[in-house]
């Protein structure tokens, strides 16, 4: 017959087998409810800009506190990465720190993805250095261009090369990754064309890495959305930017909610957006989330460190959403000098 050892071992194995099979049955059964590859219907999938991430994270957190059953996932693959997923139908909402591009519009149209473009606030891209950096308190756009344009790669490596009176020390550069809307906006504003940047710096889609990098050593310089400076003031120092145009503020201007709001912090102020998929709006939880975002998101925008929309702008955005107005306000006329209000009423 069976030895006691064997009976014991035998029993354990039987138990293991039963547990295995039943667990597998349960798991597969639940899986079949959800249509295979997509997440269960009660999940709101959001991805995109690392700049906008803190706002959406705050909104999602407050929203989930009140709506216990709904789940919101927020990724930060960068504006470009977010749009790629959005136009493949993988996400419900895409965060963006720049308007949707022509190629992305095309991709979405091809897949039949309709979207509503919703500005949610303004951001100023902050140029930051280490607190012990005493020389770079202000830079002109020409300085930044010299430092960041593609031909600077391998060539401009020391502070003294930008301005002769600056110390002859190595520069350590940190900046946005190529999927980042901040990257696109920064390069367009500084070098003249989106995507034109040197490649020999620490690039990351995660702005926290840039903060860590700049706060790590005295020779560092980096750029990211203003909120990341606001949350790390003790570790960073702002650089004032002079765009050479006295009509919108004389001299070098430091970014702040005020200077971004009144338009003097140029050229690095910009609106930030969420893009919501129209077909997702059939779902009640998506509508609830967007309502929450539009009605109660502005204080959170301010809390995170960005600039809120004016009441008039908020009203126009709300109308755009309720009318389900699709397409982009920026299509075709990239950076024509129009205010947001003007675009919203076009």
């Amino acid at each position: 017959m069976h030895s006691p050892t064997e009976t014991r071992g035998h029993a354990s194995l039987r138990l293991l087998l039963i547990v295995t099979l039943s667990a597998a049955a349960v798991a597969c059964g639940r899986g079949n409810e959800a249509s295979g590859a997509t997440a269960p219907a009660q999940v709101i999938t959001i991805d995109g800009s690392s700049t906008v991430f803190p706002v959406i994270e705050a909104v999602a957190e407050e929203f989930q506190r009140e709506h216990r059953g709904t789940r919101v996932t927020v990724g930060s693959s960068g504006t470009g990465g977010g749009f790629q997923k959005f136009c493949r139908g993988e996400t419900d909402i895409s965060n963006a720190s720049r308007p949707i591009k022509a190629t992305e519009i095309e991709a979405c149209t091809k897949q039949g993805i309709e979207y509503v473009e919703l500005p949610i606030g303004y951001d100023g891209i902050a140029i930051v250095v280490h607190p012990s950096n005493t020389w770079a308190s202000a830079m002109t756009v020409a300085d930044l261009k010299k430092l960041w344009e593609p031909s600077a790669q391998g060539r401009i490596t020391r502070w003294s090369q930008i301005r002769p009176d600056w110390p002859d020390r190595e520069i350590h550069l940190f900046g946005a990754g190529v999927d980042s809307g901040t990257f696109e906006y920064f390069t367009e504003a500084i070098a003249g064309k989106a995507g034109q940047s040197r490649g020999d710096y620490t690039s990351s889609e995660d702005d926290n890495v840039i903060v860590q990098g700049v706060s790590g050593g005295p020779d560092a310089l980096g750029y990211f959305g203003y909120a990341y400076y606001e949350q790390n003031r003790d570790k960073l120092k702002l650089v004032a930017v002079d765009d050479g145009d006295d009509t919108n503020g004389a001299g070098a201007i430091r970014p702040s909610p005020e200077t971004v709001a009144n338009g003097t912090y140029r050229p690095l102020s910009r609106p930030v957006f969420v893009y919501a998929r129209v077909s997702s709006m059939d779902r009640p939880e998506i509508r609830a989330f967007l309502d929450f975002l539009l009605d109660r998101g502005q204080p959170l925008v301010r809390e995170v460190g960005y600039v809120a929309l004016t009441p008039r702008e908020q009203e126009l955005v709300r109308r755009r959403y309720s009318e389900r107005k699709t397409g982009s306000m920026f299509a075709g006329t990239d950076h024509a000098p129009m205010t947001l209000e003007q675009r919203l009423t076009r």
């Binding site: 064997e6 071992g9 194995l13 798991a27 295979g36 997440a39 999940v43 996932t73």
Partner: protein
């Protein structure tokens, strides 16, 4: 022992001094290595102990460091490692049984052995790339618990196979021979005699393999596990996050308060690891008692 069975060599005092210095140096370096471990644990404990609390264990991630908690990550880790075990254990144990009991010295068996030994040395991120190409893209599992667990199962497989083989090898041949002598077939012998006897060793190996799995970060990042998942995954198709990735996310945030969260998360991870290893030891002892 070595060197003590003989009378001390007759050497000059200088050489003996050199010998003592060398011994002391060796002891010192050993102590330093242990001190490094101590420094690590001390640093983590100092930063994280204050943050550990019941609310930390049951809260969801938050932008406010003080409110952030580790619940989805903890649940995700336990879910993923359980699923990994369910996939990897039957496959691994079966493979080991074949190689040890049936394999023979054929060229194919030898090839399989070499192959498994090599797989054990492949960096975990390569498994992540395999998971990305195969499970996420080809089989369309997306960023689900299933994709994560499948990838980790492949990672754990070589270790489980090797550990099971060791356990099977430790079973004395006399047990098998007695069984054959009584007329049992190979499978009957394996199932009724060898496996039960090897079970303690197998369990130990399993739990050690799985405790390595629970600390894995790179493969799951590669297949796209998210860093902001503020809910507990309920089924295998759900997006998920795990303890190491949550820790990684907090480590990447520059605010000092998040560093504390990361340290507290590390303490939770270490406790889970400790529990698993303690389980392994207890199980092994209990299953061994009947011998």
């Amino acid at each position: 022992m070595i060197g003590t069975a003989l009378p001390p060599p007759r050497t000059s005092r200088g050489r003996r001094l050199g010998d003592h210095l060398f011994a002391s140096f060796g002891a010192l370096v050993t102590l330093l290595a242990l001190a490094a471990l101590g420094a690590l644990l001390y640093d983590v404990a100092r930063d994280g102990l204050g943050r550990l609390s019941w609310s930390f264990l049951t809260s969801y991630p938050s932008r406010r460091a003080a409110d952030a908690g580790i619940l989805p990550a903890l649940a995700g880790s336990l879910f993923v490692v359980t699923l990994t075990a369910l996939i990897a254990v039957p496959l691994g144990v079966s493979a080991a049984i074949y190689l040890e009991e049936y394999g023979g010295r054929g060229r194919l068996a030898r090839l399989i052995e070499i192959n498994i030994a090599n797989l054990a040395g492949v960096p975990s991120i390569i498994y992540g790339l395999l998971g990305l190409g195969l499970f996420v893209r080809l089989m369309q599992m997306e960023r689900s618990v299933l994709a994560g667990a499948s990838t980790l199962a492949l990672l754990a497989l070589p270790v489980i196979i090797l550990a099971t083989r060791e356990a099977l090898r430790a079973v004395p041949p006399s047990l098998r021979e007695a069984s054959y002598a009584l007329g049992a077939t190979k499978w009957q012998t394996t199932w009724h005699q060898v496996l039960p006897a090897a079970l303690p060793g197998i369990f130990t190996g399993l739990i050690l393999a799985l405790s390595r799995t629970i600390g894995e970060t790179a493969p799951l990042i590669t297949i796209g596990a998210l860093t902001y998942v503020p809910f507990v995954p309920t089924d295998v198709w759900s997006p998920f996050t795990v303890l190491p990735i949550q820790i990684f996310n907090w480590v990447s945030r520059p605010q000092a308060a998040f560093a504390e969260n990361a340290a507290a998360g590390i303490l939770v991870l270490l406790v889970v690891l400790l529990a698993m290893n303690a389980c392994a030891i207890v199980l092994r002892d209990r299953l061994q008692r009947r011998v």
